[in-house]
């Protein structure tokens, strides 16, 4: 079983000129916990629920005043569509992430979430995909530098 067999192929996007309230509205409306920021047609950043929360906490500003361009660019932690689900689970765990962008070359083909893994692998449980330690969640300096 490969990542492409279980990933979520469709994903919501916002453009770099939009603000976080628009991103959150789309996330809530579509019941997803991640959204990709598009710059010149290319996804450059993945904002997750956690990143959005951290941005609110650290800036102490209304969502409508937080530009999505303020999130650090880059999709360095990602997974390829032809990677095995075992490697994907290992990466989710190593990165302490709830989801990973599925990247092939320069394009994003989907998003792999912990729920995708749990739904498709019979012996995987929620706690296998994450490390327990989260005590430093609220202490970072910038919007999303962790």
């Amino acid at each position: 079983m490969l990542v492409k067999h279980i990933m979520t192929g469709e994903f919501e996007t916002v453009s770099r000129g939009q603000t976080l309230d628009e991103a959150v509205e789309l996330m809530l409306g579509n019941e997803v916990e991640h959204i990709l920021v598009i710059e010149e047609g290319t996804p450059m950043v993945m904002i997750t629920r956690r990143k959005a929360l951290l941005a609110c906490y650290k800036t102490d500003a209304p969502l409508s005043e937080i530009p999505v361009s303020g999130f650090s660019r880059g999709l360095e932690t990602n997974i390829g569509p032809n990677e095995t689900v075992l490697i994907a689970v290992g990466k989710l765990r190593q990165a302490k992430a709830d989801c990973l962008p599925v990247v092939s070359g320069m394009s994003v083909e989907g998003v792999l979430t912990r729920d995708d893994v749990i739904e498709n692998l019979s012996s995987i449980t929620d706690n296998m995909t994450e490390e327990d330690e989260r005590r430093d969640e609220w202490t970072a300096q910038s919007l999303d530098e962790r």
Binding site: K96, L121, S123, I124, M128
Partner: protein, 200 residues
Amino acid sequence: MMSYTITTVLIVEDETQLTDQYAQALGAEYSVVTAYSGAEALEVADESVDAVLLDRRMPGLSGDEVLDRLRDRGRDYPVAMLTAVRPDWGIVEMGFDDYLLKPVDIQGLYDAIDRLEALGGIDRETREYIRQNIKQASLEGQKDDSELASSAEFAALKSDVLERSSEIGDVTAGLSQEETELIVSTISRNLGPPDSGRSD
């Protein structure tokens, strides 16, 4: 899936003091056989052994050669390389089940035996598939993207994993949650230390 129980562990390590420390640590729970050289390992590695901790760099027969000969003899017990040698492209052709970088503490040794026990009960094809995933994780944990992209050995490994994937559906089907957890932790550990912060 067959249940696999490890009662006897063979430790192969040319540093005698280290070997004896490992043996003492594991002796509380397992019957331990020690070998201070590759040649000695081949003499004592009989059907009574259930798992092997194998150093790579030894005078005379290397750990790599010992592993090859054990597999040639049909000894299919789970083997963890226990070594200071960082994994390189050569591991693609090796038949180990886990790769531990020294130093390994006592808990690390026990955890390794638990993982080998989980792997030992898995059918041959699935176990080989998991081995290949572990090798991929080991190399990804040691090499940067450009090195991986330019390696013919890594490309061959990925191709093999891809081919096997088409035949194996849910690799965790038939495994208990505890066994799956041990395999996931092996892959995660081989990918490298956890990120200092969350990436999402």
